[in-house]
């Protein structure tokens, strides 16, 4: 009987041991969950307005806008006033505010060879537009380096940043047109570009008419992209965020052609000799510097600087410095009051 009592005790011990075994050593997946949650942090995106690809929408808007007095002659800008001495901007003017800040803030691109690009070796921005802006800084401060460049990554930023005042001026191959004139002011034309087509040297296409059903790259939010969607041969538009992304897409065979301004396309040709410009101009693309509508004094000041550069030949010299012998004529300034 004693042994059996012992056995019963052992039975009870089994139950106790089992309870202990089940209780000790539990696991939890809190760390796992937290780690995975943290790793799943989504890539942050900045909301940007998507360019309208519907050609009809643009058309309707344009019909309305052509009635605007600004659209009678889009290239006509405010007549310049006499330039004040550098460092002594008139009291109460926008230039005075810039002067007090200590530097000009200018929106530029850093990927467009010849116009505005970053030299990978020096880490400095340079190009035709950069030099233009330095001239502007010289006119305000007497110092070409009193300038902070803000790199613009999307085409829409070129207008938005001027409107919201985060930059004073933008020189980034912005075409003057009626629609944009509703939102911002432009300087006189500092460069007359033409929208052209760039294809690989081996391509048979001789113009936009041969590109039906082909993918044609252009920067999103530009006039070039709008134009290509309106072509009767119906090329397939391929929008990219930054201009030079088109050259990557062409070199990797993702697109069949690039459409942009001849100025930009020449820069592409320098970077890739196995390309050629084809066809005639699709549309003239007059470039102006973008300035907020609320600063007409600054527009007149910028136009004054441009007029002086036209007169003393320094604009022509800049053309030669960056574009060489293929440089076009310096466009004539047109003014309104």
């Amino acid at each position: 009987v004693k042994t059996r009592i012992l056995e019963l005790l052992a039975l009870a011990a089994v139950v106790a041991a089992a309870a202990a075994a089940a209780g000790c050593g539990s696991t939890s997946d809190t760390s796992l969950r937290d780690s995975l949650d943290a790793l799943r942090t989504p890539a942050a995106t900045v909301s940007s307005t998507t360019p309208t690809l519907n050609p009809l929408a643009g058309l309707v808007q344009q019909v309305d806008l052509t009635l605007s007095p600004l659209c009678v002659n889009t290239e006509a800008s405010l007549r310049p006033t006499e330039l004040p001495t550098p460092g002594r901007m008139p009291r109460g003017s926008f230039m005075r505010r810039i002067e007090q800040r200590g530097h000009l803030v200018a929106g530029v691109d850093q990927n467009t060879l010849l116009y505005g690009y970053l030299d990978p070796f020096t880490g400095r921005l340079q190009g035709l537009e950069i030099d233009l802006l330095r001239n502007l800084a010289t006119a305000i401060f007497g110092n070409p380096n009193a300038i902070d460049f803000k790199v613009l990554t999307t085409a829409d930023e070129r207008l938005q940043d001027v409107e919201d005042g985060s930059v004073d001026v933008v020189a980034d191959a912005v075409t003057i047109n009626c629609e944009r004139l509703q939102d911002v002011a432009f300087s006189t034309v500092y460069y007359d570009a033409q929208q052209r087509i760039l294809v690989p040297s081996s391509a048979k296409a001789r113009g936009v008419q041969d590109l039906g059903g082909k993918r044609v790259c252009a920067r999103a939010g530009t006039t070039s992209l709008d134009n290509i969607t309106k072509q009767p041969s119906h090329p397939i538009p391929f929008p990219v965020e930054q201009r030079t992304d088109c050259l990557v897409a062409l070199q990797e065979g993702r697109v069949d052609a690039i459409t942009s301004d001849d100025s930009i396309l020449r820069g592409f040709q320098v970077q890739d000799p196995y390309t050629k410009l084809v066809g005639s101009s699709l549309e003239p693309e007059p470039y102006g510097m973008v300035i907020a509508k609320s600063h007409p004094d600054f527009v007149r000041f910028v136009n004054g600087v441009l007029a002086r550069m036209r007169a003393d030949g320094s604009l022509k010299a800049l053309y030669h410095k960056w574009l060489g012998t293929s440089a076009p004529h310096v466009p004539r300034a047109q003014y309104r009051n």
């Binding site: 075994a21 539990s26 696991t27 780690s35 992304d245 050259l247």
Partner: protein
């Protein structure tokens, strides 16, 4: 003359007369039992009468031995036996043997019904196993087919249990159909539509089958028969005990095997895969961060950065190749490996194009770098993160099954049942035999208790070590490697934002999101809170404090760079980040180094504990087999003694 009759001769022939006498006696005997011609000197009619009387006596004995056979033959039994006996001498004083021989003779002629044949089969089993001087020690199986009732009767003899009879239904679909048709024909023409009648007929057919099934449920009857006698009850008890003990062994083996597999899988398969996936993610992120930083510094790239990038890329390709071979089963893991394997060459191609263009001072190089970085951050790194997640979840599953309470509960429950039964039977036997101690049964109980204790201790050890492996090892590995991947992402964000020179708002926002996920360095929330509590748990506070101090410094420098960026002072910002006056990059490198050291420390903690966990169950499987079989044998021995007392 039948062969057996020739042997009926007297062996002793020492003298002429004796031999003569013996010969005549043998001849007479042969004539009487086998119907050979009568030797001279005997009255033929009397001799025939004696012979017939002898055969009738044999027939009566045979009828007593196999009553079912006799009943099924009825009146023809004696005449049939007489026909048979004319050619067959009696078995040596053995009515059962004689009856089996007669039954077999009739069975060969296919004249027996099922009842008689069942009796014959059971008698044969009994005869083969029990009538000899010793009981048979090996199992024996006999079977018969009862065509008429569509069933198979299987008789199994097992030592210590006796003969067990099992009836299995044996019914071909053809036969059932034929029966249905037969019922239909007998039922006459349908009165209310054909389909209904057929349904009725079919259902009546299935009713018939059901009825026969209840009639054939013999196990209850068999049990009743067995339980009627004490040795029968003891045999049943022995069978039950053996069954329960063996079942305990099976359950315990399964539980131990499951635990062993889980612990082994965690230690040797999933965790190493997790580490590989982490190395992959980390080297991909680092390659991208290095490539962007290299571009940012401008000029001729530094050989150290180039080496780091190449090393990262080499590591990533090696890991992705290794993982491709080791990732099985999971489609999402396979898809992730395929994505990385196909996109990584595209990435490195674009990076090289970017370098070539940068060397010529062409801005398209920057565009290639952006494209490559977009591919890495948008496609390749997320795929690596998915892979990491799959492996991390597999490890969690391994932990779950490695510490699941179901194993302990199952083993304990089975042990309770087996021990309870053993103890109850000892009480029962003690009452039955008035013997206090059944040594064999007691030994069996002790074996079982010992085995249970061993198994439960093993489980508890394995469980606590596995939990240690997780709590101090892999938890830290997971949190720290997630931290490292996020920090690398932040670094790459930082470089890309600087490279965009004020245009990289999305990178700045991503940097902020990543830092938010990490939480502040004081560890009040976010992933760093986990890291901080893990550091406290693993007594790694000192190195974690070092890390947070560096992180504070890093964030301070980042803020300074942010201010410079906001004011448009990009050259100064770049210089502070990675250039001549660099402050940020060395801090980032130190953060990476710190994390690397902490991760490898956590990894070795994991490995030690996980190895201990697997060794906790060493030897348990063979132990279970040995001890359960041992106690089953002891049960048989212990009850065998008692059973034999009734023979």
């Amino acid at each position: 003359v039948p062969r057996r009759c020739e042997r009926l001769e007297h062996a002793d022939s020492s003298t002429e007369a004796r031999q003569e006498y013996a010969t005549r006696q043998a001849e007479l005997l042969r004539a009487l039992v086998c119907g050979t011609p009568l030797p001279g000197g005997f009255d033929a009619s009397r001799a025939r009468a004696v012979g017939e009387a002898l055969v009738r006596k044999r027939a009566r004995a045979v009828a007593r031995a196999l009553p079912g056979l006799a009943a099924s033959l009825g009146d023809s039994h004696s005449s049939k036996f007489a026909d048979y006996a004319r050619g067959e001498p009696p078995h040596d004083n053995d009515a059962l043997g004689d009856a089996i021989a007669f039954g077999s003779f009739l069975d060969r002629l296919r004249t027996l019904d099922a009842r008689a044949r069942r009796e014959l089969l059971l008698a044969r089993m009994e005869y083969a196993t029990d009538t000899r001087a010793r009981r048979r020690r090996t199992p024996l199986v006999g079977a018969m087919l009862d065509r008429a009732r569509g069933r198979v009767l299987v008789a199994v003899y097992a030592p210590a249990l006796g003969v067990i009879e099992v009836t299995l239904p044996f019914r071909s679909p053809f036969r059932r159909q034929a029966e249905g048709v037969k019922t239909y024909l007998e039922g006459g023409w349908p009165s209310r539509g054909t389909s209904e009648t057929i349904r009725r007929v079919t259902s009546s057919g299935s009713e018939a089958i059901g009825a026969s099934a209840t009639r054939e449920s013999l196990p209850t009857a068999w049990l009743r028969d067995r339980a009627a006698t004490t040795p029968g009850r003891l045999r049943l008890l022995a069978a039950l005990l053996v069954l329960v003990v063996l079942a305990f062994g099976v359950v315990a083996s399964i539980a131990v095997r499951d635990r062993q597999q889980a612990a082994h899988s965690a230690a040797a398969e999933t965790e190493p895969l997790l580490v590989q996936a982490d190395v992959l993610s980390r080297s991909l992120s680092d390659a991208d961060a290095t490539a962007t930083t290299t571009f940012l510094t401008g000029g001729i790239e530094s050989p150290a950065r180039r080496q780091r990038y190449l090393h990262d890329l080499r590591t990533a390709s090696a890991e992705v190749t290794a993982l491709a071979e080791e990732v099985h089963g999971s489609t999402s893991a396979n898809a992730a490996v395929a994505t990385i394997a196909t996109k990584l060459p595209v990435y490195s191609g674009e990076i090289e194009t970017a370098r070539a263009n940068n060397r010529q001072g062409l801005p398209v190089g920057a565009a290639y770098l952006r494209s490559a970085s977009g591919l890495m951050r948008g496609t390749i790194v997320p795929a690596a993160a998915r892979l990491y997640e799959v492996e991390a979840r597999r490890l969690a599953t391994d932990y779950g099954s490695g510490v699941s309470a179901s194993a302990v509960v199952a083993v304990a429950a089975m042990a309770l049942v087996a021990l309870g039964l053993l103890i109850l039977s000892q009480f029962y036997i003690a009452r039955l035999s008035n013997r206090v101690l059944n040594i064999a049964l007691l030994a069996a109980s002790i074996l079982l208790i010992g085995l249970t204790a061993w198994a439960l201790t093993g489980f508890a050890l394995e469980q606590s070590r596995l939990s240690t492996a997780q709590r101090t090892g892999s938890d830290s590995v997971e949190v720290l490697s997630a931290t490292r991947i996020l920090l690398l992402r932040a670094q790459s964000d930082d470089s890309l934002a600087l490279a965009a020179r004020g245009g990289g708002d999305q990178y700045t926002a991503d940097f902020a999101a990543v830092m938010h996920a990490l939480g502040p360095p004081d560890g009040s929330h976010g992933l760093l809170a986990d890291a901080s509590s893990l550091a406290a748990r693993t007594h790694a506070d000192a190195s974690f404090d070092d890390f947070t101090r560096t992180l504070r410094g890093y964030e301070a420098v980042h803020r300074r760079i942010g201010v410079l960026e906001d004011n448009g002072k990009f050259p100064k910002a770049v210089s502070l980040a990675v250039g001549r006056t660099e402050k940020e990059a060395p801090l980032a490198d130190r953060l990476n180094g710190d994390l690397k050291r902490q991760i490898s420390a956590a990894q070795s903690r994991f490995e030690n504990a996980a190895t201990d966990a697997t060794s906790a169950l060493h030897g348990l499987l063979p132990g279970i087999a040995l001890l359960t079989v041992g106690s089953a044998l002891l049960v048989l021995i212990g009850l065998g003694f008692r059973i034999r007392e009734y023979r």
